[in-house]
């Protein structure tokens, strides 16, 4: 049942992505991307609910669950920010990442079959996992906004303004504002995750995972500090947001 939810969520996000790309190619606005992504979110919730029941705990116990939780978080923040700030194209750019994360979770062996009940749930462990993965969702979306900015910036720089993509991309200022907002949100949530991580009992293998997570947090905090006090060009901020998110994936590799 949980795999079916995941499979359908992946297909819905893929449809949203392909539909959005067709609209972009035609130079029209992709109004349906939001609808496909809402449907994908509902299926992700279905998956997480089933896994949560099986685990009798927050479904963040294996890499597959974390990847799906990350995809859910990314979709959730897109739906929260994209339509509100009229950045509908954010969905077209987020959808492939959602498809990628969920496809990785669907690979045999990544998602535990017949998950065991968590008999010794720890509140700090659950809080650490949930807030951290939520944070990575926001930071992933910041990376997506960063990619969108880099494309727009390049097109403006080389005067390539004829494409449907250029017409549909939101203004550079709005992309940078959303990117910064998402970085603050992600770093704030990550701070909670790190604090909870300090408080939870840790085994030796978890120690290295925790250190990597701490390095990621310091990296994002430093980026925001530089942006706030010194200032950064949009291009450097966007590149840093993308690079930092790619680096943060190391955290998942250590699980």
């Amino acid at each position: 049942m949980d795999r079916w939810f995941l499979l359908i969520a992946t297909l819905l996000a893929a449809i949203g992505w392909i539909w959005g790309m067709i609209c972009v190619h035609r130079g029209t606005r992709s109004h349906w991307t939001v609808a496909w992504m809402v449907a994908a979110l509902l299926c992700q919730v279905g998956f997480l609910a089933v896994r949560g029941q099986l685990r009798a705990a927050c479904p963040l116990q294996d890499l597959g669950e974390m990847l799906v939780f990350l995809a859910w978080s990314l979709t959730f923040f897109y739906l929260l920010i994209g339509p509100a700030y009229r950045i509908s194209l954010l969905g077209v750019f987020s959808a492939p990442l959602v498809v990628g994360l969920q496809s990785a979770a669907l690979i045999s062996g990544v998602l535990t079959t017949g998950p065991l009940r968590d008999l010794t749930p720890n509140i700090y462990h659950s809080l650490h996992s949930a807030t951290s993965v939520l944070a990575y969702g926001a930071l992933a979306l910041a990376g997506v906004a960063g990619i969108m900015f880099l494309i727009l910036d390049r097109q403006l720089k080389i005067h390539h303004l004829k494409s449907g993509l250029f017409r549909n991309l939101p203004p550079a200022h709005e992309l940078l504002a959303s990117l910064e907002r998402l970085l603050w949100l992600g770093t704030g949530l990550l701070s909670l995750g790190v604090i909870a991580g300090f408080l939870m009992p840790r085994s030796t293998p978890q120690q290295s995972h925790f250190l990597v997570a701490l390095a990621v947090w310091i990296g994002y905090a430093a980026l925001l500090a530089v942006k706030t006090w010194r200032g950064l060009t949009g291009r450097k901020l966007a590149l840093a947001a993308v690079a930092m998110f790619i680096f943060s994936l190391v955290v998942f590799a250590r699980i």
Binding site: L152, L156, H159, A172, G231, G234, K236
Partner: protein, 336 residues
């Protein structure tokens, strides 16, 4: 009853002729009433914009009504008989197709412009209020509005900016979003700068600084635009705060160099900076574009973008005309 159209526009008449037939928006109803008093005519609508004046009427004898209308117009304006050569005359379906082309912006000086739709609607409503429309003109005009909307929604006839000023404004909006928080500096109080800056102000730009070698001219333009004059040796100080720089001085060499911008980057916190260089020779050295947060467009780049948009609109004409023909064929309009 037959539908008729008599008119002149920017292609058939020079401005000194067009202005004599122009009707103010407040007089459109009275002009339509006057039109409907012609012998044989029972309905009338008068459209008048800066580029055209057109008389639409429904009459039982088309050729007679046209002769009477022409005679009345030339007599009223004391024109010599040769002035009639400026008029175009259309009847029945040809007149209906023409109205649809006008409403869709296909007959406008700026192909695909949208303002004409509202202007025709205003003319029709004035005639409706004056009671000079009936079964023929009501259906023809309402159909034309429907066709105009369809043309605009199903084609890209209105897409892209077709003048240097509008390209610059669209680019500014693509960089800064709404312009209400944007500040603009004009270097050189020339006409092109003024027009471009006015476009930015009309879209909400917050404040304007004008710097010119002659401070008097800077003050005059600043006062006209509700901005602030800046002495020419102080423009670098203002560069720290503005978002858009429009430059069109008559300087024989580049005025703004990379080093000028590098100096203020830190103070600007690396915010985006949009340079519009409409001077020839160019005022802004091309090296400035290599700075990360700078977007530099010179007159050739802007003109090329405008020209490409105009070409794209030209390519849409046949598509628009097919829509007009198909839509008019669906209905058996009275008077056509």
């Amino acid at each position: 009853m037959e539908l008729l159209c008599l008119g002149l526009n920017h292609r058939t008449a020079p401005v000194e002729v067009r202005e004599r037939f122009a009707v103010s928006s407040l007089q459109l109803g009275a002009a339509a009433s006057d039109l409907a008093t012609l012998a044989d005519a029972s309905e009338g609508v008068v459209i008048s914009t800066c580029n055209r004046t057109e008389f639409y009427l429904a009459a039982s004898d088309a050729s007679q009504a046209l002769v009477l209308l022409e005679a009345r117009l030339t007599a009223r304006e004391s024109l010599d008989p040769g002035a009639a050569s400026h008029f175009y005359r259309m009847a029945k379906s040809e007149a209906a197709v023409h109205l649809c082309r006008v409403v869709s912006g296909l007959d406008s000086m700026m192909l695909g412009e949208t303002e004409i739709f509202g202007q025709v609607k205003q003319a029709y409503q004035a005639a409706l209020a004056a009671g000079t429309t009936g079964s023929v003109l009501n259906r023809v005009f309402q159909r034309a509005f429907g066709v105009g909307k369809k043309v605009r929604s199903e084609t890209s006839i209105q897409e892209g900016s077709t003048s240097v000023g509008s390209v610059a404004v669209d680019l500014a909006e693509k960089i800064f979003g709404h312009l209400k928080d944007s500040e603009v500096m004009i270097l050189g109080a020339g006409e092109m700068s003024r027009i471009t800056a006015q476009s930015l102000v009309s879209r909400g730009a917050r404040s304007i600084f004008v710097s010119n070698r002659s401070f008097d001219r800077a003050e005059a333009l600043a006062s006209e635009m509700g901005g602030q004059a800046v002495r020419f040796d102080e423009w670098q100080r203002v560069l720290e705060r503005v978002d858009v720089v429009i430059s069109s001085t008559g300087a024989p060499h580049a005025l703004i160099h990379r080093s000028d911008v590098e100096k203020v980057r830190r103070a600007r916190k690396f915010r985006p900076l949009f340079f519009i260089d409409i001077a020839v020779p160019r005022d802004i050295h091309p090296d400035v574009a290599e700075i990360d947060e700078v977007y530099l467009y010179d007159i050739d780049a802007l003109e090329q973008l405008a020209s490409e948009a105009r070409s794209r609109r030209q390519l849409q004409i046949q598509h628009c005309e097919r829509i007009i023909d198909a839509e008019l064929a669906k209905l058996n309009l009275p008077g056509t």
